[in-house]
């Protein structure tokens, strides 16, 4: 069991210290002697002298490796410096890592003495502010640099240079960016006892969950690089942006599913973490990819970074109260078609309950609500036993045969809730997801509360005593694309149902490759075989609660979104078309341990 000591919060809830440059430089001092490693370091380069020449304006690095732990480096012909380093081997590849003492920068090298190819990761702390300022100035149209969460001196920046070892002419071939890792998932057990699931679902992001980390129920996403050395060896890197800013670089060998890696950063407790590691993996699955054949993603522009925590506006209690009480909009209040939203493929509205009454009763003190459906878009509701009927706008869909899903706002109070109600007429069952504004962290986030119970209606079945809809992990590991808007490609994302408690979403690039990705907590319940209610909250992102009833026989959903922001409180519909995109066999790694 790993003994690393993390703060007991999910990574997106930690308020990371905005360290000064001086603090970062001070914290990096011990790194001058090189990384630690449980496994023995390689001495493959000991006593050797190499000169790496890189292309595209990159540096020329002349190394003399004194032994397995000490090197001298002359950068661009400059004065040689001494540094500690570490190296690990994978077949003919050597992974080297070192910092430049007294600075906040260093190099990670992947060198292949046989092919004489080399890839250089120039890494540095204290670089976000300058890089972000330059990127904002170069943007078209220009934008303001993102500094809401500080200067991010802790976030490792990287530049990648492809090159070769000098001498005897330039080698044939080269390391290249690639999509050949896209869609794979691997479980890793490292030599330091850390266990981690990594999912390489896009060409520029990865999704991971450290199983040995406290609170590790939720996957996180990190901007990543994928470089192909040959058909079985790949270089993978990531920076845990929006979190600690830690940098990870790995050689992945798919012949024997092994890894050699280095991790460099400052933990959530502002402690230096600099070590190399070896690991053994198991392939967990492979999703479909959506580039046209022949597109190998060898060329790409700058790697985009999604910064939801930076861009999410935290509203005050008064702001949110004002919005939920005075600016609530339900299904556009009858305006619009939803075609420009997440409801571009909504099914037809169900009107069969118009003029009828029914009630739902949830277990364990959950809500018991009577309904009277006035017309196709308006209903009356009251808590059972209350004489006071309220009016509300609603929309109802039929995601499975005689299984109905509708939603409406509850009382105008703060915090404010909505009810998303599944009526399983065949089974006399009902499930209610109550969406409510506010969390312990932000008032303009939402959260769901699930209730399982029964349906009472004239002509319906006798409500069961013991049978209920319930929680499930059947969806865990599945990937599904969702097409929300017509067009080519319309608005399309991919869901990855990563653990029983989380999911992530992937946004496709214009060429069909996977691009940016982000995670949120997720809740999964089963109504019938192949029919599920899945909910998510975009915590520290957009704050939205999404709840879909997903019928895997139809590959279609019916659902609702609940959101509060500067534009008011909204309850809206979701309707999209799905394609199965693959599945990871990860059930043994996540959830309750036995």
């Amino acid at each position: 069991m790993s003994v690393r000591n993390y703060r007991p919060l999910q990574m997106h809830r930690i308020a990371y210290t905005d360290l000064t440059e001086a603090q970062v430089t001070q914290l990096l001092k011990p790194a001058a002697s090189g990384p630690a490693s449980k496994s023995p370091f390689s001495n493959a380069l000991a006593g050797k002298h190499i000169k790496i020449v890189t292309a595209d304006g990159g540096p020329t690095l002349e190394y003399t490796f004194k032994n397995a732990r000490e090197l001298e480096l002359s950068e661009n012909g400059g004065k040689a410096i001494k540094a500690g380093y570490g190296a690990l081997e994978d077949r003919s590849l050597v992974l080297v890592s070192h910092l430049i003492p007294g600075t906040h920068r260093g190099f990670n090298l992947v060198v292949d003495p046989e092919t004489r190819l080399a890839t250089v990761f120039e890494i540095y702390f204290n670089g976000y502010a300058a890089d972000e300022t330059a990127a904002a100035a170069a943007a078209n149209p220009k934008r303001q640099p993102q500094f809401k969460n500080g200067r991010r001196n802790r976030e490792v920046q990287r530049k990648i240079w492809f090159g070769h070892l000098d001498g005897a002419g330039a080698p044939l071939g080269k390391h290249v960016f690639t999509n050949r890792m896209e869609g794979r998932g691997i479980y890793w057990k490292q030599d330091n006892d850390i266990e981690i699931l990594e999912f390489y679902l896009t060409v520029s992001y990865s999704n991971l969950i450290e199983l040995t980390r406290f609170g590790g129920e939720m996957t996180v996403c990190a901007p990543s690089d994928y470089i192909m050395v040959n058909d079985h060896q790949f270089i993978y890197s990531r920076v845990e942006c929006e979190f600690t800013g830690t940098f990870t670089l790995q050689l992945i060998d798919l012949f024997d599913t092994t890894q050699k890696g280095v991790r460099l950063g400052l933990t959530d407790k502002d402690e230096l973490e600099y070590y190399m590691y070896s690991g053994k993996g198991e392939i967990t699955g492979q999703t479909a990819t959506f580039e046209v054949f022949g597109n190998n993603s060898e060329t790409r522009g700058p790697r985009r970074v999604y910064r939801p925590i930076e861009t999410f506006e935290t509203m005050t209690d008064d702001d949110v109260k004002q919005q939920v009480l005075n600016h609530a909009v339900t299904f556009g209040d009858g305006q619009g078609t939803g075609a420009a939203s997440m409801g571009g493929y909504r099914s037809e509205l169900i009107t069969k309950f118009v003029g009828k009454q029914l009630s739902v009763k949830m277990d364990n003190g959950g809500p018991a609500i009577d309904y009277d459906f006035t017309d196709a878009k308006h209903l009356k509701w009251r808590y059972h036993g209350d004489s006071n009927w309220r009016e509300a706008r609603y929309e109802m869909y039929e995601p499975d045969n005689e299984l109905y899903f509708f939603a409406h706002l509850l009382d105008a109070e703060f915090p404010r809730s909505c009810a998303m109600v599944a009526l399983d007429v065949k089974n006399g069952l009902s499930t209610v997801v109550k969406g409510t504004t506010g969390t312990a962290f932000r008032n303009n986030e939402t959260h769901p509360t699930y209730y399982f119970g029964v349906l009472n209606m004239e002509g319906g079945p006798t409500p069961p005593t013991y049978l209920r809809h319930g929680w499930t992990d059947e969806m865990v590991g599945q990937c599904v694309t969702w097409n929300y808007q017509p067009g080519n490609p319309g608005l399309t994302s991919m869901h990855f149902y990563a653990t029983p408690n989380t999911y992530s979403w992937i946004i496709f690039n214009p060429d069909g490759s996977g691009g940016m990705q982000w995670s949120s907590p997720g809740w999964y319940s089963k109504l019938r075989d192949g029919v599920y209610i899945m909910a998510w909250v975009e915590e520290a992102c957009n704050g939205t609660l999404g709840v879909i009833c997903f019928n895997q026989r139809l590959m279609h959903d019916a659902g609702f979104g609940y959101h509060v922001g500067r534009g008011g409180l909204s309850l809206s519909s979701i309707g999209a078309r799905a394609r199965h995109a693959g599945k990871f066999e990860i059930g043994d790694y996540v959830g309750i341990k036995t």
């Binding site: 608005l491 214009p510 939205t544």
Partner: protein
């Protein structure tokens, strides 16, 4: 304003309504060649023809520059090819996150010819260019995946459509610029 709303789709309309067409172009050309008089008149006519040819070449270059800049996504530079309020209109359209925009043009073979008509005084002109236009519909909405998609340069729809560009030009300080540009899908009048 949507390009789909009407068959005669508004694009950039900074000046008066388009008037001249193919017939007018033929008319000017025929009138010029029939005009035979004194040597001085002939010199003037040749000067006019030379200027006319130079203007046509300059306008064709302007059109080529415009289509190249649009295809390259350099809408700011493309806006500088317009004069007066049309420049701002063009630029505004390309920063409007709701607008359907043109993102590419291909010259199209048509039974009708492209036409350029330069005015008698050589200070204004009209042009018609038959093109296939790439119409790009943005991803709309402020929800998370829409914002992420836009951040990645994703759009909701791209499609090619046959039509024609009808432009008006003015020459000021020796330089031709567009004062209006209409795009009309094939079949639009």
């Amino acid at each position: 304003m949507s390009l789909n709303n009407t068959r005669r789709a508004f694009f950039v309309q900074g000046g008066a309504a388009l008037g001249a067409g193919v017939g007018a172009a033929v008319g000017v050309s025929a009138a010029a060649s029939a005009n035979t008089g004194s040597s001085q008149d002939q010199v003037k006519q040749l000067q006019r023809q030379l200027r006319d040819a130079q203007d046509r070449e300059a306008i064709r270059r302007l059109h080529t520059d415009f289509t190249r800049l649009v295809a390259g996504g350099d809408y700011g530079q493309a806006a500088e090819l317009f004069a007066g309020p049309a420049s701002r209109q063009f630029a505004d359209r390309y920063v409007d996150s709701e607008a359907i925009i043109h993102t590419g043009y291909r010259q199209r073979v048509s039974h009708e010819s492209d036409a350029l008509v330069v005015s008698e005084d050589g200070l204004s002109a009209t042009g018609t260019f038959h093109v296939d236009a790439e119409l790009t519909t943005p991803v709309r909405g402020e929800f998370t995946i829409a914002r992420m998609a836009r951040l990645q340069g994703q759009v909701a729809d791209r499609r090619w459509e046959s039509g024609r560009l009808e432009a008006r030009y003015e020459k000021a300080e020796g330089r031709w610029r567009m004062t209006s540009l209409d795009y009309l899908p094939t079949g639009a009048r």
